[in-house]
Subunit: 412 residues, 2 copies
């Protein structure tokens, strides 16, 4: 049985600059905690072989699980393989099969593997290979004397699937059994402090389940994690805590499975056989971009207009030029005309429009943060207006999120 404590070591001099932060360790901490593993230290080391070897030795002397991230690239700076081999007192072994796979990957993208990529085909002697379908650097898993070290690639898009599919199952086999169950709520239409004021009287009475609230602009995730000896106990605990939370949040909950708001909207459209178009001014394409991030979105999303200039609002969407002059482009009337123009020109079931003032300087006369969202569909057209806080990026993010939630409530 492995000792249920861990150290996370992030490798890379770039993580020691003042612009960069190691965020992989947050994901890893969450995953390890869910397995009942306590993270005892997190370390960031630059590209220095001797320092890293010393750090790995130190970690192996203190904890059961050592997770290393980064430093698996092809350049001279990438020293994790060497340093870990030295810490274990093992050699590095060249593996032709790994090299062939890397070469294959380059070939698939019509490129030739550079000579330096051969470095990525070295494994610490006796290590398990952890396949990396998303990148060239494979991971490694090394066990010795009841301790384990794992080498994971730095890019989050490669690290996360590798940890989830390769490391979690191996760790589960080697750690004491626990029943861990989670509940999730995706919540739109309120701020983090509004949400916390509403539900903290419920959840703060409990340390088990542990409640975590993660907030992005206009989007809040509530995670509850229960750890018990039996499945029945977790279920009993959840019904006690989650029942009241669900009642308080009501239809502000858009997701219980972790789907994004754009995925939820897409699923509703697909179920109802509806199509969607957009007319974006303020968001400049952000709304379309989010909708089309979902694979298969072409089933319901036809496209739309980026009507950034007033001239294009008139020429592409048929918004009356005198209306823009009278009411300004940042107005309820223009939002409505944009949505209706997009719907009729694309012949979609629904059309959503966004116009507003992103700032920092007001071009329309409206205060920065003022946003109008229009929605056209079967039945009467609607608009809503908002005054969002924050800078340009935040205002646009809040506008896109709110437009999607407006759409969700209408289609539902």
């Amino acid at each position: 049985m492995l000792a249920a404590d861990a150290e996370i070591i992030a490798v890379g001099s770039e993580l020691l600059t003042h612009q960069r932060i190691d965020t992989n360790s947050l994901y890893l901490t969450e995953q390890l905690n869910a397995l009942g593993v306590e993270v005892r230290r997190k370390l960031i080391v630059g590209d220095d072989r001797a320092l890293l070897t010393a750090a790995v030795n130190h970690a192996l002397a203190h904890v059961g699980i050592v997770v290393l991230t980064g430093g698996l690239g092809p350049t001279e700076d990438d020293i994790t393989r060497d340093a870990v081999a030295a810490a274990f007192g093992r050699s590095l072994v060249f593996r032709q099969d790994i090299c062939d796979q890397i070469e294959d990957r380059f070939r698939r993208f019509n490129r030739k593997m550079a000579e330096i990529n051969r470095r990525q085909a070295y494994l610490v002697e006796g290590a398990d290979l952890l396949p990396n379908p998303r990148g060239t650097a494979p991971g490694q898993w090394i066990e010795q004397d009841g301790r384990v070290a794992m080498l994971l690639p730095g890019p989050p898009g490669e690290l996360k699937p590798m940890f989830a599919s390769e490391c979690v199952p191996r760790l589960e086999q080697r750690l004491p059994p626990q029943v861990i169950r989670t509940r999730f709520y995706g919540v739109a239409g309120m701020t983090e402090s509004e949400l916390d004021q509403l539900i903290s009287p419920v959840y703060s009475k409990y340390t088990n389940p542990a409640t975590t609230i993660l907030a992005a602009p206009g989007d809040i995730q509530v995670h509850l994690r229960a750890r018990c000896a039996t499945l029945e106990e977790t279920e009993r605990l959840f019904s006690e805590v989650c029942g009241p939370i669900e009642e308080l949040l009501g239809d502000r909950i858009y997701s219980r499975e972790g789907e994004t708001l754009e995925t939820v909207v897409g699923n509703l459209l697909r179920e109802r056989g509806g199509t969607l178009s957009v007319a974006e001014s303020l968001t400049g394409g952000l709304l379309g971009e989010r909708i089309t991030l979902v694979p298969g979105s072409s089933d319901y999303f036809v496209g739309g207009f980026i009507a950034y200039s007033d001239r294009l609002k008139t020429e592409l969407l048929g918004v009356d030029a005198s209306l823009i002059e009278r009411r300004s482009a940042v107005s309820e009337e223009v939002a409505l005309a944009m949505a209706e123009g997009a719907r009729s020109r694309t012949r979609s079931t629904y059309a959503v429009s966004v116009t507003g003032e992103a700032g920092p300087v007001s071009a329309s006369g409206a205060p920065p943060g003022r946003v109008y969202i229009g929605l056209a569909g079967p039945g009467p057209s609607e608009t809503r207006h908002f005054q969002f806080p924050g800078d340009r990026t935040r205002v646009r993010t809040l506008a896109a999120q709110t437009a999607l939630d407006f759409l969700r409530r209408r289609i539902r």
Copy 2:
């Protein structure tokens, strides 16, 4: 003279949860770098006396400067004073004058000092007191055998002024004088390994300037930092190293000042009095979103089309339906027709189009990652095609970045 390298140790179990990140170290790194001090490691340790003592000992054995943050509060969890005293082999001394100051501070806020706050009046024997006008916990400065450890409070509002007013002057006295200058290149149109293969023969011969390469999809940042005794020496060093690097990278350098690619493109358009429109399929709005992220982009960006479905490519952009049928929507011919359609319908100087297969499943028959970019403007229209690696998000990101770079090279 102090060795010009440092380790930053953040103390506190709350920093080992998945919701919290240590940001003090970013500020400290920036300040230390400006003094010519290299940060060699950053460590986060929970509230565990033995672990922290071991960590301080390890740090004192490897670097000249050890900065500890947090763990100076009044509770049992606050173990930094104890652990550092143990690491130096010194005792803790109660200081009535400090205790009186803390009591005074409480009195000023009309509160009574709790008994546990007496803990904050203990100093490591022989330490300098670092006053904390913003909080109760004073800092401490301990020197021994040409090494220094400093204990700083965790709250950024207390830590930053203490470091700036107390620690920086002490460090300046003890470190060799230095001039630090930086150079920056933003590079598009190549991968990290291609770039490294090209320029590492130049930069890897030097440890001063230090070269750091940061890569995002389709976008690479090269940072060089030179430290010398005089300004002339840094300039001489840069002309030696940066001259060849600039020659090798040529027009792939899009920025020397840190501007984003969309800002560079926007500035070129503004200088030349040109306007821009987009016709997006694959990217679904991402290109417009990036262009309009730049404040003032309405000076040159008129808007455009999200022509996601084939029908809208024909209806909105005038792409011949039989052409789409013959060549598929993911083709050079359609990219060209989309760009030309957007340009004529918006009457912009330039129009750029993106069509491609994002995956994971191919809808068009083209392999995921296949991307065509079209560009219409004064003079003949052009297209380029690419086979990008990675998942849906990466392919779209690479496509938008490449489209912006295509545009930059054309307008320039």
